[in-house]
């Protein structure tokens, strides 16, 4: 049984690569979503008694309780907080920069751009100043505020869960192909646009932080990890198309710019981004990496991942997220990687042993 204070200490140590055990949120797919309701925290086990201790197994009497102690504490799942946040599937960043989101029911997605972008092929001749769409920005801030007013207390509040970075926004504006052509043929204009888009990203991230109530003196990321300062997250799916050299030249500087604007920044990557891991971990101001480990052929096999992950975790805290892993695979990760800086979120395929993963 973990108290909120224990979790905060665990998270504080995680950012510094000093946690003595990994952060875990490992659940069983077949129980979803009931697993959260069945977890110890969600069932009110964090009830604080009049004497300040946590409720233990056994009878509960009114004399053991005090109103001031029974304040609501935020829900957790595993070692992570469960944040309330604006609906993540809306491509907020692209919309704020001028793209019109497109709903695709079949794809179960809302796209930020539509194939070829909204700017012409000779975008680099144009004025490279995307105007901020205040209707979308205001809606995002209002929605964040709503989450804070409605849910803060039982939940922590975080920024929206998918905020795309400059390269993805540029792709929505000019088309994927023109991003690449820009890097090859109009390097200066491409860099200028990426930096301008990074400024917009920072503006949007800060606008949300302004209306998110601080929690225990800090903020919680969309992955549920608390930090003793300002947090944000970033993602550059389009980086998967480019060489490590192009990442360093064009994308790393803007990822760094965003990381410099916040105390604790996490970049989200997919499995196909593994080629950029060395360049990403070279960003001194970057707080952590989050990797969605899609199975091959989206990225390496688990065995091929291990040396890459070992290199990463020497330098930065790492959130590993996988839709499914077997218990054996989980054990491989927990055995091969040091606990310092490791956070593992996954669903186990076998049934009946969820408690094993939560055991302290």
């Amino acid at each position: 049984m973990k108290s909120i204070e224990d979790l905060l200490e665990l998270h504080r140590a995680w950012w510094k690569l000093e946690n003595d055990r990994p952060l875990l949120n490992v659940a069983y797919r077949e129980h979803f979503p009931w697993m959260w309701l069945q977890s110890d925290h969600a069932q009110g086990m964090e009830l604080v008694l009049k004497d300040g201790s946590l409720a233990k197994d056994g009878p509960l009497k009114p004399t053991m309780l005090a109103p001031e102690r029974m304040h609501p504490t935020p829900f957790t799942h595993g070692d992570l907080f469960l944040p309330a946040m604006p609906f993540g599937k809306i491509p907020w960043m692209e919309a704020i920069c001028g793209a019109t989101p497109q709903v695709s029911v079949k794809g179960n997605s809302i796209w930020g751009g539509f194939g070829q972008g909204i700017w012409p092929d000779d975008w680099w001749k144009q004025r490279l100043e995307p105007e901020v769409n205040h209707d979308w920005l205001d809606l995002l801030v209002e929605t964040t505020k709503y989450c804070a007013e409605k849910f803060f207390g039982h939940f922590v509040v975080a920024q929206t869960s998918i905020m795309r970075g400059p390269v993805d926004i540029m792709a929505a504006l000019v088309g994927d192909k023109n991003v690449i052509i820009g890097m090859y043929r109009h390097a200066e204009e491409t860099k200028k646009l990426l930096h301008r888009l990074a400024d917009v990203c920072i503006l949007v991230m800060k606008a949300q932080n302004q209306v998110i109530p601080r929690f225990e003196g800090g903020y919680v990321s969309c992955w549920g990890i608390w930090a003793p300062g300002t947090v944000t997250r970033n993602q550059e799916d389009g980086a998967a198309y480019v060489s490590p050299a192009f990442y360093r030249e064009f994308i790393q500087p803007v990822d760094r710019k965003i990381a410099q604007a916040f105390d604790y920044t996490t970049i989200h990557f997919h499995a196909s981004h593994h080629i950029h891991m060395d360049a990403v971990t070279d960003i001194p101001e970057l707080g952590a990496l989050q990797i969605s480990m899609e199975p091959p052929p989206y990225g390496p096999t688990l065995n091929d991942w291990i040396p890459i992950l070992k290199r990463i975790i020497k330098k930065k805290p790492l959130i590993l997220q996988a839709w499914y892993l077997t218990r054996e695979q989980i054990n491989t990760i927990l055995t091969e990687l040091p606990p310092q800086g490791l956070c593992l979120e996954t669903y186990v395929q076998e049934a009946g042993e969820s408690h094993y993963m939560y055991k302290e």
Partner: protein, 214 residues
């Protein structure tokens, strides 16, 4: 510079993805009296090296995209110099990303490289409904139909397109090539496809090889 040296230089610039230099070399070679057909062959040699480097993971999708761009521009330079009587249009290809999916990088690379090789490509774009594929096969009469998807959720659409071709009596008239990360050989077979392309370059190679054999 001898003609041979000019052609070797074109192949090298192409293989190194030097946009300006490749095109400049093409123009220079033509002005020095090198045959346009030989320049085309030199570019093809450069592309062969690019394919090798892509497979060796020295090159990435960005390099394939630029290859398509260079080839597109090179065609503009070369076309007026090519002997129309000898110019051979290769097979027709219809290509698109299936409904519900808007990922187009792989599909665009395949379309662009095949066009530059002389295939007649009809690109239906992204989020293409089943009926539109069927209609295009009926009207364009392609030898190859390329279906692309990146999302697991949209891969079954490929099977629906193939089924619809059967219903329309068109399945035997077209070879279906499916490509996209969620797929593998076995899954492609289960969908009823003729060929599976693991990546964009494999897609191009598969169609080129099959077209050559035909």
């Amino acid at each position: 510079m001898t003609h041979r040296e000019s052609l070797l230089a074109i192949s090298k610039e192409m293989a190194d993805i030097n946009y300006e230099s490749t095109l400049n070399r093409c123009e220079e070679a033509l002005s020095e009296g090198v045959k346009a057909e030989d320049v085309v062959k030199a570019l093809a040699e450069g592309m062969r090296v690019i394919g090798e480097r892509f497979e060796a993971r020295e090159y990435f999708l960005s390099e394939l995209i630029m290859t398509g761009e260079i080839m597109r521009e090179a065609q503009v330079i070369l076309k007026p110099h090519l002997d129309i009587r000898q110019e051979k249009v290769l097979d027709r290809v219809v290509i698109g990303t299936v409904e519900g999916d808007l990922h187009d990088i792989g599909k665009n690379i395949v379309a662009s490289l095949l066009s530059s090789m002389g295939f007649e490509v009809t690109d239906l774009g992204v989020d293409v409904p089943v009926e539109k594929f069927v209609q295009a096969v009926r009207e364009v009469k392609p030898r190859f139909l390329g279906l692309s998807a990146l999302l697991r959720a949209t891969v079954p659409e490929m099977g629906r397109v193939i089924d619809a071709l059967k219903v329309a009596g068109l399945r035997s008239k077209v070879k279906v090539v499916v490509g996209g990360l969620p797929l593998n050989e076995e899954y492609a077979k289960r969908l009823g496809a003729d060929y599976y392309a693991q990546d964009a370059w494999k897609g191009v190679e598969t169609i080129r090889e099959e077209s050559r054999e035909h």
